[in-house]
């Protein structure tokens, strides 16, 4: 097989570097070309009459559903090229064609979803212009340049995506493969830049910058983009998108596994489902920390928004969020445990699964224990207040942080058992290595508990929050340390027997479906909270929402809207899966065509 010469590799990477620099200049150069001398109007003060009513449609619900559907698809189509690129690199390095085929199949699913993303983005744009013309106009003045570049980048994204997908089989081998990989990298650079721009618009509405108290734009577009909550949202969305994309392609693999007609097809889609779940878990593990950082920054920007977020009206949605996150961890672990059945050597580890399950369920219960209970008067009287005297202390953040760190460590342990299941270590210090690993886990868990209990309950509030950082670092040290040690222990390890791909119960596939559904619902509910904490403001403290819908709906109503949107999204996803399947079916009608 021909290999690309180093010079051609460097040329390709150099061209890509130039492209990234160009994008960077474009990105940071908004303020340079900004119309600094122009006069800008203050944010408009609207009345209910300024919001058009069209065909009796509830404007807020229409925008809400279109925005949510667009966001779900956008998260999916931005995430898939990231791990497709990584899988393609693995295929190139290992020269194992299965990786290349899997990457192609993942991008094939994303290509139909890409069209739907664009259609829903258009629907969102039209609904904003039609139902909220003054708000849209105000934002369009501030973000005129970024919206213009967004449109250009959208064309670039489409062009690169189509060449990347349709050129997959054409750009194979040697230098051509490097060109293809460069296209993949470009696709990710453009896609991520698109996300960063759109994030700036929504975070401006939460933490406006580049405007004065009356909403008069200073002309500095970069200040408006680089607002207080921009980077926390960027980090959270980037990580969450990967986890979400992994869960959706995992559901695709599960769908294909359950409908597969042959043993070979089942083995292929089992392998694909495993990889998708692995991607989802890898991104899921750091996700609670990204979420915690975002919430802490919201508090730092506005205590009022922070308290509304977790201590006010939305607090009970956080309980639902906790249940869903627990569901994600349980289903991801359950899938790994079922997957151990592929190996003949797994029985050495299956006896430990029940203990992991007990810890996960225990941590899950702490994770969703509410701080303040919703009670009737009689119940309040019987309890002596809204706080349970034993369970009440579990309702505060130090207990939640401790629980989630423990859940993450035990999920990593499940994964390590899975990795070990089919291996026999050959190094002579295997017992000492295992003992040290157990010691690392034990010391790490004791430290997390100590930080959570001592600083959470026996020091002042500042230390409660501060202790979360060493807790996170302890978790990182335990996971990275034990995986590193594991790789040395299992260096040159023997295999018990070849892995039996496809030897996994059907119920494990439903765990993959559960992962995708829980993620979707979770994103919808949390997205509503993030947007809802603006309350009666379009742009916080700058532009007031004076429409008839400027109130916070009941949690039941909000959950119903999100659930309806999630059902519509799932129906569209099933359509995408079906289309991906239809495209590979062929009918040869006998006697229909002239010979």
């Amino acid at each position: 097989m021909m290999k690309a010469r180093p010079i051609t590799r460097y040329t390709t990477l150099g061209l890509f570097g130039l492209l990234v620099c160009g994008l960077g200049i474009m990105f940071t150069g908004f303020d340079l070309s900004g119309v600094l001398a122009a006069e800008y109007a203050p944010a408009p003060k609207l009345t209910a009459a300024d919001y058009p009513t069209i065909a009796g449609v509830n404007s807020r619900v229409a925008v809400w559903i279109f925005a949510q559907l667009h966001l779900w698809f956008a998260a999916f189509v931005l995430a898939v090229p990231i791990f497709v690129f990584i899988i393609e690199v693995i295929g190139m390095r290992t020269r194992d064609k299965r990786y290349d085929d899997m990457a192609y199949e993942f991008i094939k699913v994303a290509i139909t979803a890409y069209s739907l993303t664009a259609i829903l983005g258009g629907a969102l744009l039209f609904s904003l212009i039609l139902f909220y013309p003054h708000l849209f106009n105000y934002l369009a003045v501030i973000f005129s340049e970024s919206m213009f570049y967004y449109a250009l980048l959208f064309f670039a994204e489409s062009a690169v995506l189509y060449i990347y997908y349709y050129g997959w089989h054409w750009l194979q081998g040697g230098f051509r493969k490097w060109v293809h990989l460069t296209l993949g990298l470009t696709l990710n650079a453009v896609g991520t830049t698109l996300m960063l721009l759109a994030n700036a618009w929504l975070t401006f509405m939460m933490s406006p910058a580049g405007v004065d108290g009356a909403g008069v734009f200073s002309g500095d577009a970069w200040a408006a983009i680089h607002n207080f909550l921009w980077n926390p949202i960027n980090i959270h969305r980037f990580v969450a998108n990967i986890a979400y994309g992994g869960s959706i392609v995992g559901a695709y693999a599960a769908f294909k596994f359950l409908t597969a007609g042959s043993k070979e097809a089942r083995a292929h889609y089992d392998w694909m489902g495993y990889n998708a779940n692995f991607i989802a878990i890898c991104a899921l593990l750091p996700l609670p920390f990204a979420g915690y950082y975002l919430a802490a920054e919201i508090y730092a920007y506005s205590q009022q928004m922070g308290i509304t977020l977790m201590g006010g009206i939305f607090a009970w949605l956080f309980i639902i969020q906790a249940v869903l996150i627990g569901t994600l961890f349980l289903s991801a672990n359950y899938y790994l445990w079922c997957g151990m059945g592929r190996s003949d050597g797994a029985k050495r580890y299956t006896k430990y699964i029940k203990y992991i399950a007990i810890v996960l369920v225990g941590a899950f219960l702490v994770w969703f224990t509410p701080h303040t209970l919703v009670l009737s008067n009689a119940e309040l009287k019987a309890l002596g207040g809204p706080h349970h005297k034993i369970l009440g202390p579990l309702g505060i953040m130090p207990a939640k942080n401790t629980a989630v760190n423990v859940m993450i460590i035990f999920t990593a342990l499940s994964f390590m058992f899975y990795r070990r299941a089919n291996k026999i270590a050959t190094v002579n210090w295997v017992n000492a290595g295992n003992a040290f690993q157990v010691a690392l886990f034990t010391a790490g868990i004791i430290n997390i508990m100590f930080l959570g209990i001592y600083h959470g309950y026996f020091t002042n509030t500042v230390y409660k929050v501060a202790a979360s950082i060493p807790q996170v670092l302890t978790t990182v040290v335990v996971i990275v340390g034990s995986i590193t040690l594991d790789s040395f222990i299992y260096k040159n390890a023997r295999e018990v027997a070849p892995l039996h791909w496809g030897r996994i119960p059907g119920r494990a596939q439903y765990a993959l479906f559960l992962l995708a559904v829980a993620f979707t619902w979770l994103m919808g509910l949390m997205g509503y909270i993030r947007s809802g904490i603006r309350q009666h403001w379009h742009v916080v403290d700058i532009m007031r929402d004076n429409s008839t819908e400027a109130f916070t709906p009941t949690l039941g109503y909000a959950a119903n809207v999100v659930s309806v949107a999630a059902i519509i999204f799932m129906a569209m996803v099933i359509f995408v899966f079906w289309i991906a399947q239809v495209s590979s079916n062929k009918t040869l009608p006998a006697g229909y065509w002239k010979a």
């Binding site: 017992n431 000492a432 003992a435 690993q437 157990v438 004791i446 501060a466 202790a467 670092l473």
Partner: protein, 38 residues
Amino acid sequence: MKGYVLPFFAGLVVCSAGFLALDALLMNLQGLSLIFQQ
């Protein structure tokens, strides 16, 4: 068993000391930054 118990306790001591050092470093750094802010 001997090849297991000793490395376990040795590992426990080393890891615990390491984690305590990490805690002390991070909590003190944050404590100092709070003092300087005030």
